[in-house]
């Protein structure tokens, strides 16, 4: 290819100034961009309004497409299901008998739990859902893991509320528009969830890796304590996430931590439920002493 057209616009003063001004504007604009990043760093909630406006506008497109994608994806799976129907049927039947036995045990445990709680006088925290909505799109080209939920402030969603699916925790709301909300998934690298191991209540911290997996670190650093297959649920420590929501299952154990897979797959989610922020019952806040000199 011949060399591209020379960008020098000839002898016209005006055109030369125009080109120069273009460069000045570009450099100043780049600095403005840097400034905006710094303000986003200092005040993360500052830029929400304008971004929420865009997501409110584009959300109908995503939701409409999403339902059609779900339909085609489901039909593909339905065909594949037939291939090993026989062996799967036998395996499922076996699983069902085990599950039924477990269910009876669980009912007994639940009953005992309720009885003990009544004895202790513990009131269940209100866990009624605020709204059920679909996840419509996500930040697929960014290194952060956000998803758009098609419910917003008109449905009673506010920032900080946890979001869960039927299988487990999905994330928490970080930005709200009128009809949409941006959800930070638990796989995002900036998200931290306090969890406990189901079997023995070993406390741990779950952090997203940004690539679909979750890093689990034990709070008690006593060598390698995790095994593949360990299931983690939210502990409720520190509020925000209500306790007893399934979070992740460990895949590989390494050092004093484990690599885990989230139990709720946001890509296959039918509906996600927004829950109210969990406020743990703590001891009464200390009463401020009366100021001196007021009497």
């Amino acid at each position: 290819m011949a060399p591209p057209k020379n960008r020098r616009p000839g002898f016209s003063r005006r055109a030369q100034y125009g080109l120069f001004a273009g460069y000045v504007v570009a450099v100043l604009g780049a600095l403005l961009g840097l400034l905006l990043i710094v303000t986003a760093w200092v005040d993360p909630a500052g830029h929400n309004a304008i971004r929420a406006l865009i997501s409110d506008v584009t959300s109908p497109v995503s939701s409409a497409l999403r339902s059609s994608v779900r339909a085609t994806g489901a039909s593909g799976t339905a065909v594949l299901e037939y291939f090993d129907a026989g062996s799967k049927n036998a395996a499922l039947r076996e699983e069902l008998t085990i599950a039924r036995r477990k269910l009876i045990e669980a009912r007994a445990t639940e009953y005992e739990n309720r009885r003990l709680k009544r004895l202790l006088g513990i009131a269940e925290a209100d866990s009624s859902a605020i709204v059920a909505a679909r996840l419509t799109s996500s930040s697929a080209s960014s290194s952060r893991r956000f998803a758009m939920l098609n419910a917003g402030s008109v449905h009673g969603v506010t920032t900080g509320q946890p979001v869960r699916g039927p299988d487990g925790l999905v994330g928490r709301v970080i930005e709200i528009g009128r009809g949409t909300a941006r959800v930070q998934l638990i796989t995002d690298t900036g998200n931290v969830v306090p969890v406990i191991r189901v079997t023995d209540g070993l406390p741990a911290i779950a952090t997203g890796n940004g690539d679909g997996s979750i890093d689990i670190r034990a709070l008690t650093a006593t060598g390698n304590v995790f095994k593949p297959g360990d299931v983690f649920i939210t502990s409720g420590t520190g509020g925000v996430y209500p306790p007893k929501i399934p979070v992740a299952i460990a895949i590989t154990a390494s050092g004093d931590g484990a690599m885990a897979r989230p139990l709720a797959n946001p890509a296959k989610l039918d509906y996600a439920v927004v829950l109210p922020v969990f406020v743990p019952i703590v001891a009464n806040a200390p009463v401020a002493p009366p100021e001196e000199g007021t009497e």
Binding site: A26, L36, S138, A140, R144, R145
Partner: protein, 170 residues
């Protein structure tokens, strides 16, 4: 005047298409993230940026150098990156390509691809840095697949861009 244009109204439409098509196609590239994919890894190539590169390399005289600011801002509004990230990185990329243009005399397809690949990789790393500055904690390793995919898909985007260009000027 092209034989296909028969009236003043048609000419006006053709001129409007000539000036707005590159901008609109780039913004649509940025808007690919509203596709209903719930991604667990950053894998979707930054189509807005690839369209910008393709237009810039195909028609160097088409846009002033500050075009990265408005288009980058639109991309930030869609992508989930902090606002300002695209404005900064896209403008830096365009300035960098201007510099490269001054150095290189003869250019062909392979050099265009090389320039686009370098710009894409640097822009993705820059995007990771800005995302990390505002609360993320990602590693470079995790965007390597996205880099490879973006570089490999660039020729297709450039081809599509050339197709649009032919329609734009018809």
């Amino acid at each position: 005047m092209s034989p296909r244009i028969r009236s003043d109204g048609e000419e006006r439409i053709a001129r409007l298409r000539g000036t707005t098509l590159p901008v609109i196609s780039t913004m649509l590239g940025s808007a690919t993230v509203i596709l209903p994919i719930i991604a667990t890894t950053p894998l979707l190539p930054p189509f807005g940026f690839l369209m910008l590169l393709a237009w810039r390399l195909l028609r160097p005289e088409l846009w002033p150098v500050w075009i990265g600011l408005p288009l980058g801002l639109v991309d930030d509004l869609f992508s989930g990156q902090p606002i300002g990230s695209g404005m900064l990185l896209w403008t830096l990329a365009l300035l960098g390509i201007d510099l490269a243009d001054r150095r290189m005399v003869w250019r062909d397809y392979w050099q265009d691809w090389l320039i686009a690949a370098a710009a894409t990789i640097l822009c993705l790393i820059g995007g990771l840095v800005t995302a990390n500055a505002t609360g993320g904690n990602g590693t470079v390793l995790q965007i390597v697949p996205q880099m490879i995919l973006s570089v490999l898909i660039f020729p297709a985007v450039a081809r599509f861009c050339a197709l649009l260009d032919r329609w734009r000027l018809s």
